[in-house]
Symmetry: D2
Subunit: 331 residues, 4 copies
């Protein structure tokens, strides 16, 4: 870390900084410049708590040189991590396709879609039993009944199951029924839920908040890992920007960024980013071409009667086309 | 609501839309234009579920004319709402000043600051016992011990207490000790926590997420109100933008916007927006001049040794100056 | 267009709106709702000037149903437009690759790079003779000498030339030497330059401003077309967001959006978006997979001594790898 | 400047960096850390050209410690600068109020409004003769006829005149007629126009682009100053964000930021930021309370028939109220 002094900082203030750095157990090396002095901290093994320095007299700002996470850092874990679920591996190999409806609506709906996506080549079935909704008046999911339907889908089709836990009241249930526990974008900052997921033996699919930097996403993965669960799959699903042609702006540069900074696998959800069915196939191809380890795609056999997000769900024949295109790309 | 058809939509598709609107219990009136037709929905008393229409053939988009919230809407509740807490009222009168440290660190620290801010004119003491932190390695608050210290502060100074509940494990405790339950920006989308706060008899201070529109903030207030608790105080604390001169960009236009759309009071937290002590006084004056119903300000008697956010905490003498400036503005 | 009245608008105000719409030569149809009335404008052939209505008593807002551009609109020009330059076509066929240094630095530099990119498969050579720079103290380009070098590159290699006109003082020169006139992102709102480009017989490569919506980009293309030049190639090069892992956030959803709204071809500049050499290959593959009509890529044989943007320039061998990967994608 | 090496950088790479720094005429001091080494550059009097270092082997990134501007920097010019125009001073004293219509439409319109704002207390009259418009089909201003009307306004009322130069074809004319040359937000990156304004003897009002950081605004001011014109007045007018309750998000924190970084005066345009008349008064009060050196406000005696931006123009009586409120604030 570098502590930049104000350009009118006194020599006494610089010395006070150096003493404080020594109190913290490190060494402080002054670097006089034309306009001002900076003090470099050396000897630290992990993150330095900058707050004690920032508040001292004469300090302009601090500049971090090292990342604040370590369990999910490529620097400390150079080898890419593949997450094993059932008989598949997410990361490092062929992209894994997760597909299904936004919400589980009925056994018939779930099974119909599951058979269709299985046949087209998906390996994991997605579908929400608990739905976080912006409006208290919208459909909130079938709850445990939905989870039971998901279990039946697995039994009948052999597909693995990923479904969202939205809070402490349902994460234990989700853990029992699901193969992968999804933490949604709105919960990326819900630290008690992250810690709870960190105690699970099941892999966690952690979605990037639409307002989070890559570093913050990795800090949330660090929360999960710091409780012992290293099986974290990251998911880019679009960020909030001024651009209004899609619901969120899909940030595919997150893929090379995360691969550079972290050993964790990263998949892409093009459906929530686009908000429009017609863009999903092209953005999916883009995600795979950029290097995503998988896709999370919404598919519904009857979008016109879907209880949520029908507008962005692919028709089964579109999903079939998507799979064909993806297979062409990766062959 | 207006349903805009694609410009190659057929007459049969338009008729299908009109029939579906009638199935929903409303009337659909076609409006042919030069390039395309739109269908206007009339007769609805509340929000229309657009998802059933968006997925139909020939539909380009829907455009909402009415807001999706009603319990917190100025249209249905024209009169501004003042929230009574202890012997003060928040909203509609003199601005209420809430001040104190980011985190409660010790009884001595809390009492020292409380006496100072009380003397300068604050009416409510702020201080976190449970802290949501981006890093799992940062100080997470004193927990119930912190709440007990806050109770002591109230007893000794007569200040009211606002403190944050970060999840289901601590909201019941916070409710017992606090006069106002704070829901932080990162939890604005934590719907189960919002619902739980909606069952409380205590007023709720709801902070705007740094990525939320005004409408989404009001939808979160609607969640609380829909469970029966109408005592919601909103708080603007900066939004995330490309601009990097402050930690977040304080959006003071939120004040006239919210006052136009909702009867709820709105206060401003300049400390978290600015992230720098030196901007807090000027932004506080701006907030009051624009019409905020109060301020939530960080003050620490010894910022250099604060365990969190020391950099943005005012020194007690700065807070005294702030109070003097505010009093000049509102006299 | 829809004129939404305030919910306390009087009948007389609604009638005044209808009369004003009739004065404008259209018809106004009132649509009474539960809370408020809206008035639909019908009979307009082109964009309606909403400003006269927005300022009338009782009006809450207007909502546009039709787009404000027409010359570059897919609705009025359904067929995709291919722009012919020399013996190539941009749009509708195989992606066109434009490559070269950020700035022309010397004849030797330009020719060296040109031969390398030609050999790897590029069809167009890029290189700036006039450089818009954030700092007045940075290298501003070789000017006409640079253009002469570009002409020599064309003569020696057969590559077509794209280079930027930054203002009225150099657009005439650029027009003489270049095959395609580039208008940079910072000039997308420079309407007098757009109009001047609209008088040219040369195709124009119009880059999206990092702060522009797709609609604004198309409005700027409309400026060029409204002066008679229909040969406009659009270019996505990243938008400004809060996300800090790349210089700008590459918005690949711009591709399906533009293809839906406009017949114009759209290419992608991954170099300026990423700002980092290591991301350029993967983002290029993503752009082509999503459906871009071409790429604009920075390549330098000696990035360590480039006078501008060396950090994001590919090494020649990386460009060779890029071309191989692209050819695999599109075969 | 600090050059941060990759954590696998070799000692030879570090030594190469140090040699290159010495070639540039400075000294390079290595700072070994736990994970990686950084090299500090000392001895530079002005900005260092980081591009030569960024492209070298083993370099991860560079971190600037000093600002890239100097003529408009508070560090090199500690004293606040007041710009004298006619008999007023902008900066350092009482806020200066500039008011008038968006566009000059006729002599009668301009004179009517000018007399009204003069009477209410404005010192400068604003009004566009050349209008940059997003659509080529919108009203583009009266041109030189408009400038002649502005001259008449000055003669009849004694108000000073500020009006916009949109390109090289009109800046010379604007310079002849105006007291202050306005450079609009869309031209903040138009470097040839900035340089031309730098040759003028008239003060320049430079508006912040809706996508510019404070540093970029100051770099544009540096462009003007580097040509010899030190009389630059900055203007905050809202930035583009995801927030949709106003046209742009007014960033009042720009005021303390600019005052910290630069000696230049900064005024605020609340009209373009808000886009809605009803928010203009409250945001104006906020701007003055935060410390703005003036306001630029749109006023129209008949907004319903304004040719542009009528929706955000104050009625004369509202402007009168605004002046009264401002006078209360600053007394």
């Amino acid at each position: 870390m570098l502590v930049v002094m104000k350009n009118d900082a006194t020599e006494a203030q610089v010395q006070a900084i150096i003493r404080e750095i020594e109190n913290m157990g490190y060494r402080g090396v002054p670097m006089p410049g034309a306009l001002r002095t900076a003090v470099c901290i050396i000897g630290n093994q992990g993150p330095v708590d900058e707050s004690r320095l920032l508040v001292m007299e004469g300090v302009k700002e601090t500049i971090r040189v090292t990342k604040p996470y370590k369990l999910v850092s490529r620097e400390t874990h150079p080898e890419s991590r593949a997450i094993a679920v059932g008989d598949i591996k997410i990361g490092g190999g062929k992209p894994v396709i997760m597909a299904g409806p936004c919400a589980v609506e009925s056994e018939e709906q779930a099974l119909t879609i599951a058979h269709l996506v299985k046949k087209a080549g998906a390996q994991v079935f997605r579908g929400g039993a608990f739905k976080p909704r912006t409006s208290p008046y919208s459909f909130q999911g079938l709850g445990e009944e939905g989870l039971k339907i998901l279990a039946k889908v697995r039994q009948e089709t052999g597909l693995l199951i990923v479904t969202e836990a939205t809070d402490h009241t349902n994460i234990e249930l989700v853990e029992q029924y699901a193969d992968i526990i999804q933490i949604g974008a709105r919960n990326m900052h819900n630290y008690s839920l992250l810690r709870r997921a960190g105690h699970s033996s099941k892999p966690v699919l952690l979605k990037r908040s639409f307002a989070a930097t890559i570093e913050e996403l990795l800090m949330s993965a660090e929360y999960i890992s710091s409780e012992g669960n290293n099986q974290v799959i990251l998911c880019e699903r679009g960020i909030r920007t001024f651009s209004d042609n899609t619901r969120n702006t899909l940030d595919l540069s997150a893929i090379p960024s995360i691969k550079e900074s972290s050993p964790l696998p990263i998949i892409v959800d093009p459906s929530h980013a686009a908000g429009k069915r017609d863009y999903v196939i092209s953005l999916s191809k883009g995600a795979i071409a950029v290097g995503a380890d998988g896709l999370l795609v919404e598919v519904h056999h009857d979008p016109a009667h879907a209880l949520s997000d029908g507008m962005q769900s692919l028709y089964p024949e579109q999903f079939g086309e998507l799979m064909k295109e993806i297979n062409t790309l990766i062959k």
